[in-house]
């Protein structure tokens, strides 16, 4: 695998976001917006700020409940069941989807609709692979006797990772909608910012997973 090569690709998410062109047409009858950012992009940043607190609350809840000392706990601890190599691979798959998302944005900025669709669908497929991994992990946990209602930790674990999974799923729907729009010819080069905004969301969901993977799986 060429992990290191790809992670040092100059097309890292932040680099592309920074040099993406701003839309020329602004809010008030043709004037630029006050900040220079388009309304849509600013709204996505503001919304992602809110999302930080959502995941912050869920991660804090998980940490609090994991640290509780429950003498007569029912069922296994979550950490006894982690399959770190498996989750590492699915985390890697999700991280790589950020790369393909960046490639999709680069493609539409060049006006290359064919590549745009290729990379959008690839990103969605990588996301779907990650979700398949999560479904497999959940079923494995349940088979080992750790269901949603088994104990404190299991409730916190399933809700936290489930919320993240729901976010990935919404992202996949967004990506597929963009692919359809591209195929119908309505996602023109001038509207590349739509892809960029979807990319902001997608990268955010990736970053959250890095935190969850570190805090939940790696740090005991």
């Amino acid at each position: 695998m060429t992990v290191t090569d790809q992670s040092h690709d100059p097309d890292s998410p932040t680099a592309v976001i920074d040099r993406a062109p701003h839309r020329e047409d602004g809010p008030l009858d043709g004037h630029a917006t006050s900040t220079g950012l388009s309304n849509e992009k600013l709204a996505m940043w503001v919304f992602l700020g809110s999302e930080c607190l959502l995941f912050g609350g869920l991660i804090s809840t998980f940490l609090l409940l994991r640290s509780r000392d429950v003498p007569d706990r029912v069922g296994p601890e979550v950490s006894e069941l982690y399959d770190i190599p498996f989750t590492s691979v699915s985390s890697f798959v999700l991280l790589m989807s950020s790369l393909t998302m960046v490639l999709a944005l680069a493609a539409i900025q060049r006006g290359d609709q064919q590549r745009l669709r290729t990379w959008l669908v690839t990103t969605a497929l990588l996301g779907a692979t990650f979700m398949a991994g999560q479904v497999y992990e959940f079923t494995a946990f349940v088979r080992e006797g750790l269901g949603f209602t088994t104990n404190l930790q299991s409730s916190a674990f399933f809700v936290l990772t489930g919320f993240h999974g729901a976010h990935v799923t919404i992202g996949i729907v967004m990506l597929m909608s963009l692919s359809v729009m591209s195929a119908r010819g309505s996602l023109t080069r001038q509207r590349s910012e739509t892809v960029e905004i979807a990319g902001l969301y997608w990268h955010f969901v990736d970053v959250v997973w890095i935190i969850i993977f570190t805090v939940v799986y790696l740090i005991r």
Binding site: G49, S50, S155, V173, R184, T194
Partner: protein, 669 residues
Amino acid sequence: MALTESRPLELTTGSEVVDSPLGAFVRPQGSTGWRSWVTTVDHKKIGIMYGATAMVFFAIGGLEALLIRLQLAQPNGQVLSLEAYNQAFTLHGTTMVFFVIMPLLAAFANYLIPLMIGARDVAFPRLNALSYWIFLAAGLFVYSGVVLGEIADNGWFNYAPNSGLTYSPGHGIDFWVLGLQIAGIASLIGAVNLIVTCLNMRAPGMTLMRMPIFVWMSLVAQFLLLFAIPVITVALFLLMFDRLYGSNFFNVEAGADPLLWQHLFWIFGHPEVYILILPAFGIISEVIPVFARKPLFGYPFMVFSGVAIGFMGWGVWAHHMFASGIGPVSVAAFSLSTMFIAVPTGVKIFNWIGTLWKGNLKFSVPMLFAVGVVSQFTIGGLSGVTHAVAPADTQQTDTYYIVAHFHYVLFGGSMFGIFAGIYFWWPKAFGRFLSESIGKWHFWIMFAGFNLTFAPMHILGLQGQPRRTGTYPEGMGWDIMNLLSTAGSFLIALSFLVWVFNVVRSRTNVTNDPDPWDGRTLEWGTSSPPPAHNFDVEPTASHLDEWWHRKYDEDENGRPVRRESYETFAQPGFDASTIHLPSPSYWPILLAFSLPLISYGLIYSLWFAAVGGVLMIVAMYGWGLEPSVDPDAGHGGHGDDHHDDHPTPDPTDEVSSMSEVGAAPVPGA
């Protein structure tokens, strides 16, 4: 795709079918009639709907308060059963916080922010309509539980584990949890929308430090909402999963920490109180300079103290939990931070006094209410500081002293501020005056009733009367004070009726004066009521209090001298057809009402949820495929000059048609 086929579906309302290639529904047009309100995306109409709906809830919440006071008027009250009493105070608190003060402040923010910053509308007009309809759906959902007899009875902060299935069987808490969850979505969408509006839609020259103080305070409050709503969302989800799907977050038998809910709730709950008060501060900071005929004293200090309150508001939540055993270090830290947050609040009070000082004071009704806020909020603020002293707070916790305190800040502060704003901007919004003489009756009855109701509660609390307790025995020494308090509450109800009478009377009190108070901010420069496009001439700003500076020069002594003539933003005979406004849409209301359907589904039968889910998906895609400006709308002038950049506007290409008004939906939203 069915949604884009050319034959529109006929509405069951018998609406006229016009061929439209753009959606399942005929694109609504026209600016009058009920349909123009249901489908409107105009921030002014949405603001008025927010205000009207919230006032209906205010009447309902007030009736609940009267029930509470009747029960407590005498020892061993028999008006309500103890169960009904618990439901009454829970509904009262929930209604007043989430369905009265928050939407009333949203009404002002919606109506005024675009006008004050010189914009045509908010950044996302359809999302704005969506927030309103979701808020209404949430309120109706909670009260549908009342109709079904499923009423939460656990107080507005609904502590777990008491709100778990073990101690609160039935669906009352479920209606509360899901209703607040829906209301939270409305607030979150509104916060994103208004933050982007404030930051991005300002008129040329309107720098951040030239924004009217009301816009600043609303912006801070919207940021607080943005970060506070997800925290209560987490808490509500956890409780919902516990109640509906058997998880263990608040299950103490499984080892859960009973303080988890308290922490999550108050991390939301304390910023929430600033969400409720900061915009009201903004309102009276606009009113006082106009009626003192002086600029706001220390505008930058007012701005930064508001921002400081916004930051510090995140570090004081545990003062709600001093009695819960959080440990001496936490108690000391939160005592200190709570005392510190009194500093920026005190700055504001001194700045209002500084504005009044040596002013040319005119006590019209808005001014009376504003000065009422300054005095009453000071009392509430001082009793708040006493809560920072942990030993005293441990004594006061869960007594009527707390009830007295928060009514002095929320009613004496927020509601009085809201009424100041209603009297102040009524002629702008409706082109009609609320009567000054009736308004003075309203103010003095409300002022007397308010203080008669809540001042005795300080004493009752210090004497030990516990809150949320439905009866008390004779001989506690509480009888007189409780009776006075109940009498006061009926005075408040009377003052509300006086206000309603004033509103009805205002129909005949027509004014054409766009600037009756000699105002200072941009909205007074356009006609009353403002046209749909707000300004005929696009405003620019070169000063704080731009509109004042257009009207007044200074003589050599620095005294203001009114100019002979000045430019207004209203031009008689202006041809509005060249201005493209976002078109009305059915999708926001349809999307909003899918949420209560899904919620019924979670409580009763998943079939409801399936219907709601289908409605939601259809509405989202209908929304996404509908351009926010209807190319068929009769705006005229929709010529090539507006489509230079986009010679072939695609029906589904939102952004190209959006660019003319700067109001596009979030992709996929």
